[in-house]
């Protein structure tokens, strides 16, 4: 199982990525997809600007994917992260995990997201509707906590 990792500016086609994982095989019982979207709760956001560390972003995503593949019996794993300006409602990140059974697929997809959030070198800057630059999005403690729980014994689906 070779994970597919990609960083790119253009949108992704989640359905096509899912189809690529399942095509021509009948051993996959569970496919879990996560799509992270640009959210605007206050109505003042024009876009998020996603900056990344070229080279390291892909390498770190690949390291996380290899760790997921080591932990769970996966038949497919795709992670695509966009960079550049992304408007509210648009997709930012896609993770798809395929496995024989649902527990492994759910756990692997959530593990990927928890690790990508805190280990993949991406940063979000807000741009406001009035054309001015907003703040850099701050990292959240609960994201670190979400990652840490995968270090505990008795991890899910393993």
């Amino acid at each position: 199982m070779q994970p597919k990792i990609s960083v790119r500016t253009e949108p992704f086609d989640a359905a096509a990525e899912s189809a690529a994982l399942t095509k021509g095989r009948a051993d996959i019982g569970a496919l879990v997809s996560f799509i992270g979207l640009c959210r605007d709760e206050g109505g003042a956001l024009a876009a998020l600007e996603l900056e990344h560390y070229p080279g390291m972003a892909e390498e770190e995503m690949a390291r996380v994917a290899q760790e997921a593949a080591r932990r769970w019996p996966l038949m497919g794993l795709t992670a695509i992260h966009r960079s550049g300006r992304i408007a509210p409602g648009e997709p930012i990140v896609l993770v798809i995990a395929a496995s024989g059974h649902r527990a492994a697929a759910f756990a692997a997809a959530e593990f990927m997201m928890d690790y990508l959030k805190t280990r993949a070198p991406f940063w979000k800057k807000e741009w406001r509707r009035d054309g001015t630059a907003g703040d850099w999005v701050e990292a959240k403690d609960h994201d670190d906590a979400a990652m840490e729980r995968w270090r505990e014994p008795g991890k899910r689906g393993e």
Partner: protein
Amino acid sequence: MKAVYFAWVRERVGLTDEEIAPPADVRTVADLLAWQIARGENYAYAFENAKAIRAALDRKHVKHDAPIAGVREVAFFPPMTGG
């Protein structure tokens, strides 16, 4: 050694990357941060809160006590907010 900066570290330093040549007694990432702060106001502003700075050596996350000997590329950036 090439230094690269991202997000608000990049904005505060005012550069995306640069060649740096720290003296021999700068042995760790923490040493490098202290050395950077002394280079000017923009560096002092960027690195004033060392706890808020993450580092990577040759594209791998490291802690501040990591030795920098033999490293080709050091990166400084805030905690990541992708995903």
